[in-house]
Every structure is written in C-alpha cells, then in structure tokens.
C-alpha cells in the first residue's frame, strides 16, 4: 500500500509554485489576523504593567458642567486625599499651598448663565509647560498624560508661567507624610497626574470615582467605543482656550 502511495507521489511531482502560493497566502492571512488581534488588545483597557506606555490610548476626562452641582467639592477633596496635597501640617496658606484641582464658578458675560466646574491640568497634546521646561522634567506620556519628573525639576517655575490654566503648583515648603505613589518635593512643581498610578492599574482617577453626580467621565479618546468617545460624538464639547491649539485631553460639556 505504501509502495503504491509512494509511487503515486512519485508519479505526481510537487508543484513548487502552488506550494509557495499556499505558504504566502497562509502567511498573509496570519499577519492579517495577528494585526487584528493586536488591534483588539489595544482596546480601552490600560496596558499590562510590563509593557511600555504607547500612543494607542489617549486618556481624557469629559466634564459635564450641566451635572456639576453648585457648592460640590467632592472631586477636589478626593484628589487631595488620594495624592496627599491637602494633608498640610501647617495652618492653611491658600496662596502658596498646592491645589491640583479646584472648582471654579463662572458667569457668561452676555447671557448671565452660570456654571460650576472643576479645573485641573488639561493634559494638552502640545503642552506649553513641557515646551518651556529647560530640563525636560515636564513631559507628556505617549498616552497623553502630562507629568513632572521630580528628579530633574529644578524649580524654575517657567512651566507655571507658561500654563494657560494655572494648573500647576510650586511646593513652597517641606512636606511630611508623603504617599508613596504620589511623590512630591519641596522646591519642585507639581500638578494633576490624572491619577496615573490608578490609570496604570486600570482604575478611574480619584476625582472621577468620587463624583456622585456622574459629571466626570474618564476614558480613552482613541477608542471609538469608550463612553467618553461616545459622549463626545453625540454632544458638543469645548476645550478651554481652544484658540491656543493645544488639543487638551480634558473637555467640557455645557459651556
């Protein structure tokens, strides 16, 4: 039997061109499938801890000012507690104490309509703070989060001069009882990190989690299926100082 088969095979020599075609087709199909799998794994979830940060995500926060309640300060309180900037040992010194996020009440000059909203680092795509920083301590992660490298910040405060949102604070005095995942340092500049330690752990920033009015939505601006993208597709949203062309990661609805 085997002899017969062998002879049959011998009678029909291998068609090299056809085999090559099949190989190439298989490879192409595999590559196409693999890229699909890659695209799929790049969905809204945060990256695994052993992978470098990539530009596959662009993290953002949408603030719905129509839901933001007057007098509510939950997001600010949560941020201060999470990152330790509100645990000051001394008497409050509002002018020099750090504020990573604040609530601002504004009134339209023409219509008189009033809004209350949280204001923090807007995580610009083209951050002026990072442009002006002499040492590169201010930088933007690939996924859009703007941070300060506390090890090379020299405390020149040029970034604070350059930020259009006054989102940064200078640490004016010594700090005690620091929180390990949110290191701070006297003489350096700091601002909202979008709770990068939480984001890398696939959790929402503290302010978003604390908002009982569901006025804050966190997510991946590059993922069309994320809640933030869906909302931004259906509603008109605004970036603050859009005239500066900074393409902020924080957007406002209802202004």
């Amino acid at each position: 039997m085997s002899k017969q088969i062998d002879s049959t095979l011998a009678d029909h020599p291998v068609d090299g061109a056809r085999r090559d075609f099949i190989k190439q087709s298989a490879a192409a199909t595999g590559a196409a499938l693999a890229s699909g799998v890659l695209l799929y794994t790049g969905d809204a979830t945060a990256k695994p801890i052993d992978e470098p940060i990539s530009a596959r995500q662009r993290w953002g926060i949408l603030v719905d000012t129509t839901k933001c309640a007057d007098g509510c300060n939950d997001c600010v309180t949560a941020c201060g507690k999470e990152n330790g900037w509100s645990n000051v040992e001394h008497d409050p010194r509002p002018k020099t104490d750090a504020q990573w996020i604040r609530t601002v009440e504004i009134r339209n000059k023409l219509t008189g309509s009033e809004h209350s909203l949280p204001l923090m680092c807007q995580h610009c795509e083209n951050p002026p703070c990072a442009d002006v920083c002499p040492t590169g301590a201010s930088f933007r992660r690939e996924d859009g989060i703007v941070l300060v490298d506390k090890h090379i910040c020299i405390g020149c405060r040029y970034c604070m001069m350059a930020c259009p949102y006054k989102a940064r604070s200078f640490v004016h005095e010594a700090i005690e009882n620091q929180i390990p995942y949110a290191p701070r340092g006297k003489g350096t500049v700091e601002s909202c990190t979008m709770c990068v330690h939480r984001v890398d752990d696939d959790r929402d920033p503290a302010c978003v989690e604390a908002c009982n009015h569901k006025a804050l939505v966190f997510g991946d601006l590059k993922d069309p299926n994320s809640e933030i993208s869906k909302q931004m597709r259906t509603h008109t949203t605004k970036e603050l100082r859009a005239d500066l062309g900074l393409n902020t990661g924080v957007r406002y609805k209802g202004l």
Partner: protein
C-alpha cells in the same frame, strides 16, 4: 592719538576698602536671604502660585539685560571701528561679565532646587528657550572672557577682531533669548509678542550704558585719573539715543495692544487701572526712566554737568528696574483669561481678579545682593588687572584733538 596706558588701581585707600566692605556686606545679606528662603521654602517670600516670579527675577533679568548692553562700548570700538571707545573696551567687557554673573547668581539662588544647577547644565530640552539661555549665558561669559584676554594680550592682537565680532553677535543672540523668555509665553496677555526680543535689546543698550557711565565716573573720580569731556559727551549722547529708542519700542508695544481688542484688558490694567503697576509704569518707567534722563542729556545746561549725567544714568537704572517690575510682575498680576466670554465669580485658587503680590525683604535683599556682587567683582577686577587707562583726557582719546595739537 597717544598710546593708551593701562594700570591697576592702587586699591589700598580707606575709601577703597570702605567701598569693598559695604558691597561685601550687601552681598552677604543677599546670600543670607537666599539661604533663609531655600531653607524655609518660598512661602516666606511674596511669591505664590499666582505670582510665580518675584523681585529676585526683576533684578536678575535686569542685570542680565544690562550685562549685554555693557558690552556695547567694547563693540563700538572693535566692530564699528570707533577708535575713541577702544580704551574703554576692557572695562566694558569686565562690567558685562560681572553684571551677568551677578544676575545669574540671583536667578540660580531663587530656584526651588538651586542644588540641581548641574542638572540644568547637563540635561537639556532644546525646545525650551530657557535651556538655550543656559548655553547663551555660559557662552557669553566664555566668549567675552576670551575677547577680554585678546584685548589685554598684545600677542593675540590678530584674533582681537574675530573675538570682538563673536562677542557682539553672541550678545545680540543672548538678549534675544532673554526677551524671548517672555515673548514665547502664549498663555499671558502681557507677553506672547515678537517685540520682546528687540525691545529687550534696545533696553539693554540703555541699561548697560547707564551702568557703564556710573562705573566709569566713579572709578576716575575716586582714583583721580583724568576723564575728558570728549568721551563723556559721546557716552552721554549715546545714552540719550538708546533711551529714545527704548521709548519708541515701548510706544509701539502699547499702541499695538491698544489696537487689539483682546489686549484692551491688559493695556487698561497697566496704563490706567493697575494701581502700583500703573504708577510704576508712568512715574518709574516713563518719567523717571525715560523723559527726565532724555531732558538731562540734551538740555544745554544740565548736559554739561557730570553730576547731572550721573543722575540721568541712575534714573535710567531705576526706570529699568521699574520696567522689569511692570513687565514681569504686572504681567502676572493681571489674571489669566481661562474662560473667554465669561467672568469668574468664585474660585478657591484666586482665579477671580488681580493677583496680589508684595515683595518680601528676603527677595529685595537677594536682588540688591546681585548688584553688589557685580560691583564687587568690578572693584576687585580693576585692582588686580589692568582694565583702566591711566588717562582718558581729550588729548589721549580723541585723534582729531591730537592732530590739532601737533599741527
């Protein structure tokens, strides 16, 4: 023109040591203030998260701008071949380096982390004009140092011109960089303008000349060396021209702001409603710093008095400090326009209204300390090396005077 002789000053008199002692004391107070500020943290100063740069920056930027202007006299001699200024080239270069060092010391000691100066000098973000300035400042000291060496060492005479040109070009780039620190800030209405670099260059001419005249007068008066009217009149006239040019740039800057509707707020603040900033602008910057000095140097009677020329120079310096205060602190006191079309009615972070600032004694001491350090460097410089010509009387400095005399 006679051969110019240079000689160290004796520097053993009671007057010399009194001057050195006073300057040393002021410098020591300045350093002590910096130490206190760094130790306690910046909360003890008038600076805050709203007014980020304070009085130390006013002095630091003023000194850095004046430094490049002080090199003007040397450039006039070397680059523009005005032989009459060549005897003053050494002092001009020394003063330029000293003022820059004084300014940089103030700037560095006000950093949140001055101990990380080495980081600033080794880790660069080349998109930052501040990073470029670090290179421009150190380069200025190096290039002017070499230029000074070639001026003093006759064996290097053939390279003297090249060094002079290099220093001249470098100083223009340096002040462009200093002005661009403000010009490149897009966020604030008072800044964000391409006029800042050329305006700072023109200002530097005036401030540097004012410093130079005062140092020259003091050095020649206190050492009893002759200083003729020819050179003094030329310096006086140049001071007037530079102040007039600075006035022109200031007028253009504000006229542009008055034309642009979006800048009406900041213009109204500086020119009319800004309280201390408005007063400093009109009285300090314009009247004391520009109009009175121009009147002194060009009106027939006062212009022939050395005391009045010295007074005009002092007023230009006071006007320059006022200008820096109005530019730097006034520009920050005016609130950011984060929500165009809206007014801020409530904020825990001082978003509504003008930001308050009053300088602390520490800041003022550090700033004045920077001037003292610069003057101390010049005082000992002229004692140690041959910076000053023994004679700057008319017959020495003016070629025509010599021709007439020999004819």
């Amino acid at each position: 023109m006679k051969k110019v002789e240079y000689l160290e000053i004796e520097g053993n008199s009671r007057g010399f040591w009194t001057l050195a002692g006073i300057l040393g004391l002021i410098a020591a107070f300045g350093l002590g203030a910096a130490y206190t500020m760094e130790h306690a943290g910046h909360w003890i100063t008038g600076m805050s998260n709203q007014v980020i740069w304070g009085t130390p920056h006013v002095f630091a930027v003023f000194l850095i701008v004046a430094a490049s202007g002080a090199l003007n006299i040397a450039s006039m001699g070397t680059v523009f071949n005005r032989h009459v200024y060549q005897p003053l080239g050494r002092l001009s270069s020394l003063l330029a380096i000293a003022l820059l060092v004084g300014g940089l010391i103030v700037l560095v000691l006000d950093l949140g982390r001055p101990d990380r100066l080495i980081v600033a000098m080794t880790t660069y973000n080349f998109k930052s004009i501040f990073a470029w300035n670090v290179i421009l400042y150190t380069g200025f000291i190096a290039i002017t140092g070499v230029y000074l060496w070639f001026q003093m060492d006759r064996t290097m005479g053939k390279y003297y011109k090249i060094a002079g040109y290099a220093a001249f070009v470098w100083r223009l780039i340096l002040t462009t960089g200093t002005g661009a620190i403000f010009g490149f800030i897009v966020a604030r209405d008072a800044f964000d303008s391409a006029i800042y670099p050329p305006m700072f260059i023109i200002n530097s001419f005036a401030y540097g000349m004012a410093f130079f005249i005062l140092v020259l007068f003091a050095a020649y008066k206190w050492t009893g060396r002759p200083l003729g009217d020819k050179i003094v009149n030329r310096l006086r006239n140049m001071l007037g021209v530079f102040v007039a040019a600075a006035f022109y740039f200031l007028a253009v800057y504000h006229l542009t702001g008055l034309y642009h509707t979006e800048r009406h707020g900041i213009e109204a603040f500086i020119l009319r409603d800004g309280g201390i900033y408005t007063k400093l602008f009109w009285v300090g910057q314009v009247i004391i710093g520009m109009l009175i000095p121009m009147a002194i140097v060009w009106c027939p009677r006062p212009r022939n008095s050395r005391a009045m020329i010295a007074a005009a120079s002092t007023l230009v310096i006071l006007g320059g400090l006022s200008q820096m205060y109005v530019t730097l602190i006034g520009g920050q006191a005016y609130p950011l326009n984060i929500f165009p079309g809206y007014e801020v009615v409530g904020s825990s972070f001082f978003d509504a209204g003008v930001n308050e600032y009053s300088p602390s004694l520490f800041e003022v001491m550090l700033g004045i300390g920077g001037i003292a350090i610069a003057m101390l460097a010049v005082t000992f410089g002229v004692k140690i090396l041959r910076f000053l010509p023994t004679d700057l009387s008319d017959k020495v400095v003016d070629p025509h005077h010599t021709k007439e005399a020999s004819a």
